[in-house]
Symmetry: C2
Subunit: 133 residues, 2 copies
């Protein structure tokens, strides 16, 4: 990756201007397919990951690879993802990070971590409504 190309610029630009914290290869491709091929997106994102400009992680096996642009506003936030409504909640909490580091001898990368569970609203709904199955 020694040359600068139109395609790389387009992709990086898109990542910079895209407001979403997390974006999948498919989302990028759907936006840019007139200008950049899918293979190039795969290859360039792989490169950007090596350079620590994006982080790659998987939210589910069903989706294409998910990336987060490190320059974006949301960095260092922790993600809580609700199973039920699939909403992602961003929290800012150094305490949690410090706890894992100090008490468990492990330096967490909260950018790459998603904590799964049930949000307050869905939990409340669940009590009033059906239990299903």
């Amino acid at each position: 990756m020694k040359y600068n190309t139109k395609q790389k610029e387009i992709i990086l630009n898109y990542l910079k201007n895209n407001n979403k914290e997390c974006i999948t290869i498919n989302e990028i491709y759907q936006k840019l397919n007139k200008e950049v091929g899918k293979v190039t997106i795969y290859r360039y994102l792989e490169q950007l990951e090596k350079e620590n400009i994006v982080n790659k992680y998987s939210l589910s096996n069903k989706e294409s690879a998910t990336y987060k642009f490190n320059g974006c506003l949301y960095n260092n936030h922790i993600h809580l993802m609700c199973f039920k409504c699939e909403k992602i909640i961003h929290i800012d909490c150094k305490e949690l990070e410090e706890h894992i580091k100090k008490d468990h001898n492990f330096t967490p990368d909260m950018c790459k971590t998603t904590i799964y569970g049930i949000c307050k609203e869905c939990e409340n709904k669940g009590e009033n409504n059906e239990k299903s199955n």
Copy 2:
């Protein structure tokens, strides 16, 4: 899923006796391929998930689907996965769970959550050795 079959018994039995907390479809298939077809494993595990007997989650896009048998010893442990050595560390820590619940209004399902980062050993190695790239 109204009939009991030899195959279902074999799979469930294997999950019960298997000591690992997390197991992939491929691991199950490699053990049981003489007795059960892969498709049956997929279908039965899907069913077991609906019945809440196993939980499905993904550690990485590279591996086949990962399941955790809910009856196993390790339930409610938290997983820390090291990027570098890919080791999974199991910790038992109610504090962390409580913190998220109380302070962030979110009930985490730590069974389905993997916290990514760097373990102590790899961090130490990194300091002495090359930084690479």
